[in-house]
């Protein structure tokens, strides 16, 4: 057993660390550290800086412009990215659609879309969930009816994250109502400016506009925008779930969050003493740090297995469960540390210490972590059935 990185990996870590120190704009760093939401423009500028360095599409193979890193390098990069307080990027195109196109796209689709994702010319959003479906994704109802060389799409999608920023959406649509419900689903690329497509904002519990509902009324989509075969949509979508995910636990960002919380506790006082001097608060911080340490080592175990070429198992469910629990615990601690400054809502700067300004919004929004991307309940069902064999018919 050996926990150390190799000399080459350590050199890589140093290179990445220096690069972030020199290239991350100060304002982006400040906002990320305080948990303040970034604008689309800020993100695009930043992603183009990363892309110029060749470090945007870190999970893509060399032939599509990726850096061809090992899983360990990607892990190190993510740690350094978070450590630098650099934004994680909201990259549905990079993380979700890119790999799908590489695996299932036509040559034409790959040639056209992949460079546009890399260069941030396209901003993609995801159209999976529907109002009636929730965790039961396969029961989706948005219909795509064949009409010559096109499909006519009718229906609606919900929870389209940053759909109001996007110029394109990848959707799961129903092309058939025959057979098992999974079998009639297809994967379709749609331009957001197609007539009949409308985006309506959903304001979240943190008072911000991250989410949307997207309505399709006789939206005409060329059949060449189909990814994979008709009826293969479920397989295509599931491909991503079994895809290697060494960062799903969010360890890198949680470590930075933890460090920020400890700094808050040292630099802010109550009743004449630093908050850190309060034994119960100190022990709460310690408990969070210990939980995070356990998560980090589970993550390292998964990484070591992945690096050794082992197929990913149920780890992603486990990492997601424990990872989101840590995120929620940390965001609760942020509120706890803020004291009475938890009350002001989206107040201008200067109401209280800057680092307390966004803690409550972060807490509120982090409740989503155990709902989206497969809720806690769904993850537990998966582990119960797939891992523990508690599967009865």
């Amino acid at each position: 057993m050996n926990i150390d990185f190799s000399p080459e990996e350590l050199a890589f870590q140093q290179e990445v660390r220096s690069w972030f120190a020199e290239n991350l704009p100060a304002e982006l760093k400040r906002k990320t550290e305080l948990g303040i939401m970034l604008s689309k423009d800020e993100l695009v500028v930043w992603q183009r800086i990363l892309n110029a360095q060749g470090w945007l599409v870190t999970g893509w193979p060399k032939e599509y412009g990726g850096p061809d890193w090992t899983p360990t390098q990607r892990y190190i990069f993510d740690m350094e990215r978070a450590r630098a307080n650099a934004p994680i990027g909201l990259s549905m195109g990079i993380i979700m659609l890119g790999p799908v196109l590489m695996a299932y796209g036509t040559q034409e689709q790959k040639d056209y879309y992949l460079p546009r994702i890399r260069n941030c010319e396209d901003w993609w959003c995801q159209g999976y969930s529907e109002p009636g479906a929730g965790s039961d994704l396969a029961s989706l109802k948005t219909m795509a009816v064949s009409d010559g060389d096109d499909y006519i799409v009718n229906g609606s999608k919900i929870w389209t994250t940053y759909g109001h920023w996007a110029n394109r959406i990848f959707c799961l649509v129903r092309t058939s109502t025959e057979g098992k419900k999974q079998e009639g689903i297809s994967f379709l690329l749609i331009d957001m400016d197609t007539p009949g497509l409308e985006v309506r904002p959903i304001v979240s519990i943190d008072g911000e506009h991250h989410l949307n509902e997207t309505f399709f009324t006789d939206v005409r989509v060329p059949k060449k925008n189909l990814v994979g075969k008709e009826g293969q949509g479920w397989t295509v979508a599931k491909y991503l779930l079994t895809h290697e995910r060494t960062t799903i636990a969010g360890v890198a960002d949680s470590k930075v969050h933890m460090a920020n919380l400890k700094r808050m506790a040292r630099e802010n006082g109550a009743n004449g003493e630093p908050l850190m001097n309060d034994p119960s608060l100190r022990q709460k911080l310690a408990k969070a740090e210990i939980n995070l340490l356990a998560l980090e080592y589970t993550n390292l175990r998964t990484l070591a297995a992945t690096a050794a070429g082992k197929a990913p198992g149920p780890e992603s469910s486990l990492l997601k469960l424990d990872g989101t629990a840590v995120q929620q615990q940390l965001s609760e601690l942020g509120v706890e540390l803020s004291g009475q400054y938890a009350w002001p809502w989206k107040a201008d700067d200067g109401v209280g210490p800057d680092e307390f300004a966004a803690t409550t919004m972060r807490y509120a929004f982090t409740r989503a972590a155990t709902i989206y991307g497969g809720s806690d309940e769904v993850q537990k069902n998966v582990i119960a059935k797939m891992v523990l064999g508690l599967n009865f018919k």
Binding site: G134, I205, G207, N268, A270, N271, Q340, W343, I371
Partner: protein, 381 residues
């Protein structure tokens, strides 16, 4: 021993319930949210007309002569509707303080206008690093002629932007954390040297930071004896804490009921999600939490008037600790069981979440009150 409401208490409760049902639906509330400071003058007039603003005050003072149980009934009903108007800060906290500790002249000058809905008050006692400890006061009041000059900063004062006058805690003696040497002053919000920066709070109400720069007040501005303000303030905050717990109870009860209804109607995988045992048992956890909180609010409403301050503090801290912990559970799980829709502003669940989250950090966090109770418990041995 009995826990029945009197006929009068029932009448009040029914009236407030009716108001929430008819005039404070979730959609109606959205309109209040959009108003400046989340405050509807019409509602406030209505409260005055119904007599609700006079509940905590004796008949001599022009009020209804209600007790804690009456206030708890109003607050619990307000909690179910997430009422935004500053009943807690202006009537229960500030009004209660004046009613218990103000001079006859002060009561005469303030209470009729407060009860009539013409004036609003707020208590400015927290400071930037005082957290929830009312004894941590750095604002100073120096003797000046017949009166005092007050200088300092108060932070996150509930209801400050709508208040016509503030009750300010300031040191006339003692060190930063001493309970002795704290005096309470009545300060006009528009007095020279008073600067209020207002903002909205997470539950939709308002609060503000108050800067006091050599604010001159007369000797008649002093509430209670010089240097003896802590006991009054501490008692007033304890009373307000019980009222806040009642508000939280109402909000929890509503969030719990709405969640159970959602479990019955929302279908996934072809069945109501309420047929899943894991969700059923969690719903039971919320139900038992709400019932236990009801017991704690009852307990605190009976004991907050205890003449022994230690018994009062322990009862109030026990209630706040317990209800705070369960409020967090109910808020989080109501959102979780609603799934995505629970994460939006469109549905009331997200607003209950914020109301209850705000409650958790009001008048002392759950941990603050656990520590307060534990220290008193150990000392009482």
């Amino acid at each position: 021993m009995h826990f029945n409401l009197s006929d009068e208490q029932k009448l009040i409760r029914n009236a407030v319930d009716k108001f929430i049902r008819n005039d404070y639906s979730f959609d109606a509330r959205k309109k209040v949210l959009a108003l400046e400071n989340g405050f509807s003058p019409e509602h406030w007039r209505q409260f005055a007309d119904m007599g609700w603003l006079g509940i905590p005050f004796s008949e001599d003072q022009g009020g209804l002569g209600g007790g804690v149980v009456d206030i708890v009934q109003v607050m619990e009903a307000f909690g179910t509707g997430m009422v935004l108007e500053p009943y807690l800060s202006a009537i229960v906290l500030a009004g209660g303080l004046i009613a218990r500790g103000g001079s006859a002249a002060q009561q005469e000058a303030l209470l009729p206008a407060l009860i009539g809905g013409e004036k609003l008050l707020a208590v400015a006692y927290t400071e930037r690093e005082s957290r929830f400890n009312p004894a941590d006061v750095q604002t100073r009041a120096e003797k000046s002629g017949d009166g005092y000059l007050i200088s300092g900063e108060k932070a996150v004062v509930l209801g400050a932007p709508t208040a016509d006058a503030l009750i300010v805690s300031a040191r006339t003696g003692g060190g930063r954390l001493d309970t002795q040497g704290i005096s309470l002053f009545l300060v006009d919000s528009k007095a020279p040297g008073v600067e209020i920066t207002g903002y909205r709070t997470m539950d939709g109400g308002c609060a503000g930071n108050v800067r006091l720069n050599k604010v001159q007040v007369g000797a008649d501005a002093l509430i209670g004896g010089e240097g003896a303000g802590f006991a009054l303030l501490d008692e007033a905050v304890d009373h307000a804490t019980v009222a806040a717990c009642a508000d939280a109870l109402g909000a929890m009860q509503s969030a719990m009921r709405k969640t159970v209804e959602y479990l019955k109607t929302r279908k996934q995988f072809g069945v109501p999600i309420g047929s899943f045992q894991a969700l059923q048992h969690r719903a039971v956890d919320l139900f038992t939490a709400v019932e236990a909180c009801r017991s704690m609010v009852l307990m605190a409403s009976l004991k907050v008037t205890d003449k022994d301050p230690v018994a009062r503090r322990m009862a109030v801290s026990a209630a706040k600790q317990f209800v705070g912990e369960k409020a967090r559970l109910v808020a989080q799980q109501a959102v979780q069981m609603h799934g995505g829709i629970g994460m939006t502003e469109e549905l009331d669940i997200g607003h209950y979440f914020r109301r209850l989250t705000m409650f958790c950090a009001q008048f002392g966090t759950t941990d603050y009150h656990l520590k307060r109770y534990a220290d008193l418990m150990a000392a009482a041995a």
